[in-house]
């Protein structure tokens, strides 16, 4: 939902970042306001996951120039855990398995870290149990997954549901969802998309990273950005995604070639 008077939540300006001294992001600019849903599309290797990891604070990625402001603060100064507590959420493209750590305990510890920051009290194990069971419905997830180790032995689709469950528990201000649709069959896609739609509100914003149109049939974005060679090459409305589906990304190469990049 686009509102001209909406608050600017996340302001990325001319962001450059590298990994192992190899530049990956080459000047990304994106402004996300409250209530908006943005989609970032682009080929494999264009830098989408890198953008998401830089925003979440992964230590392997080094920001070389540019800025990211979040609710008026310098986001890049904050540790990953502080970003999460303040309301930045990254749904991972490849959620990590953590053997021996109970999913339920993990969810409780992280939920409480965020709640404390919002000035809400911590939930004890009993209250959290009720809370998580209620939130499970957002992604129609089987409570049995709470008893397992974090993501261990989960199928691709179950991992993605577990990510959206975490989003539902953490109640983020900025949700970045990296390829949340990959590995999902059509029913699971609908459920996950339904969850995301349910969690989107006039007070938060969503950055959907995907390279398929099909997720955008379920979650209608306000803006679609095309990323290539580590920057945003083009921005449009939801019709841009449909156009990409028809024409593919060949024009991207032509444009990059014309600009002498790639």
């Amino acid at each position: 939902m686009i509102r001209p008077d909406a608050e600017l939540l996340l302001e990325i300006n001319d962001l450059h970042a590298s990994v192992e001294d190899k530049p990956i992001l080459n000047g990304v600019t994106l402004h996300l306001k409250a209530g908006e849903i943005h989609a970032v599309m682009g080929r494999n290797g264009s830098g989408k996951s890198t953008l998401s990891k830089v925003l979440a604070g992964h230590p392997a990625y080094r920001v070389t120039s540019g800025s990211v402001r979040y609710l008026g603060r310098d986001l890049l100064e904050l540790e990953p855990e502080e970003r999460s507590r303040l309301g930045i959420f990254l749904g991972f493209q490849y959620p990590i398995e953590i053997p021996g750590v109970s999913n339920l305990e993990f969810l409780r510890v992280s939920t409480n870290a965020r709640r404390q920051n919002k000035g809400q009290g911590e939930l004890d194990t009993f209250d959290f149990d009720d809370h998580v069971r209620e939130r499970l419905q957002v992604v129609q997830m089987d409570p049995a997954f709470l008893e397992r180790s974090v993501n261990e032995g989960f199928s691709g689709g179950e991992k993605k549901r577990n990510e959206i469950l975490q989003m539902a528990l953490l109640d983020p201000v900025v949700a970045i969802l990296d390829e949340t649709d990959s590995g999902l069959d059509i029913d699971a896609l609908r459920i996950v998309a339904g969850g995301v739609n349910q969690l989107a509100s006039p007070d938060n914003c969503t950055l959907l990273i995907t390279h398929y149109q099909r997720l955008l049939d379920e979650i209608i974005p306000d803006y679609v950005h095309v990323m290539a060679a580590g920057r945003i090459l083009r921005t449009g409305g939801s019709e841009l995604a449909l156009e990409l589906e028809k024409t593919g990304y060949d024009w991207v190469d032509q444009q990059l070639a014309a600009e002498g990049v790639g």
Binding site: E79, S84, L90, F92, I96, I98, V101, F106, V109
Partner: protein, 410 residues
């Protein structure tokens, strides 16, 4: 070596049921002399710490070991015996049906039999135990018996030798947890023999807990007859100096063995696990996973021998060693030692040494968990996989679910 002899001469005279064993042990120690780093199995050992054991005073009938009240209660049905060198562990007990004391000629016949079958009867730490130990807990197990918890405790700079022998009869089933605790710079020398009769089943746990300055020498000899099932889970934590030597032999084949280990070291501790699995008959299986966690400047050693002679065709063995290094100054030496002569066997082995995974840490941190909590959560998870395998619910009863977290100064 002079030091060994000086120490031996000041020991009390051999007495009791183990008197001849003590005499032979002392003689063997004199003949062997003190271990040297030129011997392969002692190559990496900090021998100064082994020498330091000779400074301790031997626990005997006149030592006073008072049992702390912090010990958890015993699970219902289970039998707890306190094993030490100072008094009779069975005094005042009515043993449940199926468990009986092994004594007299029966004991004489059984004593040392499994050690010999495992070819470890004259290892230095075994002879050391032979030389000084004057007590033994020897039990015969028939049928399915209640679980047994054996607790061994030493404190106040004492050297505590203990010895246990379990004769598990054909088709019998036993769950046994050993808890070995030390405080106040004490040391344990423990010797265990378990003989598994045909088709018997033993689940064996060892939870060995020091407080950072203590020492542990433990030799465990396990002899398995055909179609028996043996599983060992050995967890050690907090030993300044430790050496754990599980020796398992399948004498007739067609048996299964599983060995899971976790050794955790910190500060400048050194802990070694030397395991030997020997198949003497066909179609035996082994599933072995040894995990180590080494923090600070500590040193963890794992030597895993697997012997498959010609008669052990169609053996199926797997061994995995996984080490977690928590500091750049910690050291792990992990080495498989496969001696395979039979040709129709499956034997896999692998060793990994890693640090806490950056991606796992980041995942937890991206959910609001601080770096240090994330690290300890990961570590607990890594250990929990082994702790949860201990019998008699040991981890939650003795540890509140997790090993104590020491101060680490990476």
């Amino acid at each position: 070596m002079a030091m060994t002899e000086a120490w031996l001469t000041q020991l009390p005279d051999p007495t009791g049921a183990l008197e001849p064993v003590q005499r032979r042990g002392r003689l063997a120690l004199t003949e062997q002399g003190f271990p040297s780093r030129r011997q392969e199995s002692w190559r990496l050992t900090d021998l100064k710490r082994l020498e330091a054991l000779f400074q301790l005073s031997l626990a005997n009938d006149s030592s006073h070991v008072s049992i702390p009240d912090s010990w958890p209660t015993v699970p219902e049905q289970a039998l707890r015996l306190v094993v030490n060198n100072t008094n009779d562990p069975l005094a005042g007990f009515d043993l449940p049906e199926g468990i009986s004391i092994l004594e007299g000629v029966e004991l004489e016949q059984a004593l040392g039999h499994t050690l010999s079958r495992c070819q470890c009867a004259s290892e230095w730490p075994v002879e050391l135990n032979h030389g000084v130990n004057q007590q033994i807990l020897a039990l015969r197990i028939r049928g399915k018996v209640p679980p047994i918890e054996l607790v061994t405790f030493a404190t106040d700079a004492m050297f505590m030798p203990t010895r246990v022998l379990l004769l598990v009869e054909e088709k019998a089933e036993l769950e046994v947890l050993q808890v070995v605790i030390a405080k106040g710079h004490a040391a344990h020398s423990h010797l265990l023999e378990i003989h598994l009769g045909q088709e018997s089943k033993v689940q064996h746990g060892l939870l060995a807990l020091g407080e950072g300055k203590e020492s542990l020498l433990a030799n465990m000899a396990i002899e398995q007859e055909v179609r028996s099932h043996y599983s060992m889970v050995a967890v050690s934590h907090g030993w300044s100096f430790g050496r754990l030597e599980p020796n398992v032999v399948q004498v007739g084949g067609q048996a299964s063995s599983s060995i899971h280990g976790l050794s955790v070291t910190a500060a400048d501790q050194q802990f070694a696990v030397h395991s030997t699995m020997r198949f003497e008959g066909p179609e035996g299986t082994l599933d072995q996973v040894q995990k180590t966690v080494a923090a600070d400047r500590s040193h963890s050693i794992f030597n895993g021998a697997i012997q498959v002679p010609r008669q052990a065709q169609r053996t199926n063995a797997s061994q995995l060693s996984r080490s977690l290094l928590l500091s750049g100054r910690a050291r792990v030496d992990a080495k498989p030692e496969l001696q395979i002569v039979a040709d129709d066997v499956r034997c896999t082995h692998g060793a990994t040494v890693s640090q806490l995974q950056e991606d796992q840490l980041f995942y937890l941190r991206s959910r609001g968990i601080t770096e240090s909590s994330a690290a300890s959560l990961l570590l607990r998870g890594y250990c929990k996989e082994v702790l949860d395998l201990l019998p008699l619910d040991a981890a939650s009863r003795w540890l509140d679910g997790a090993l104590p977290e020491g101060e680490t100064n990476p």
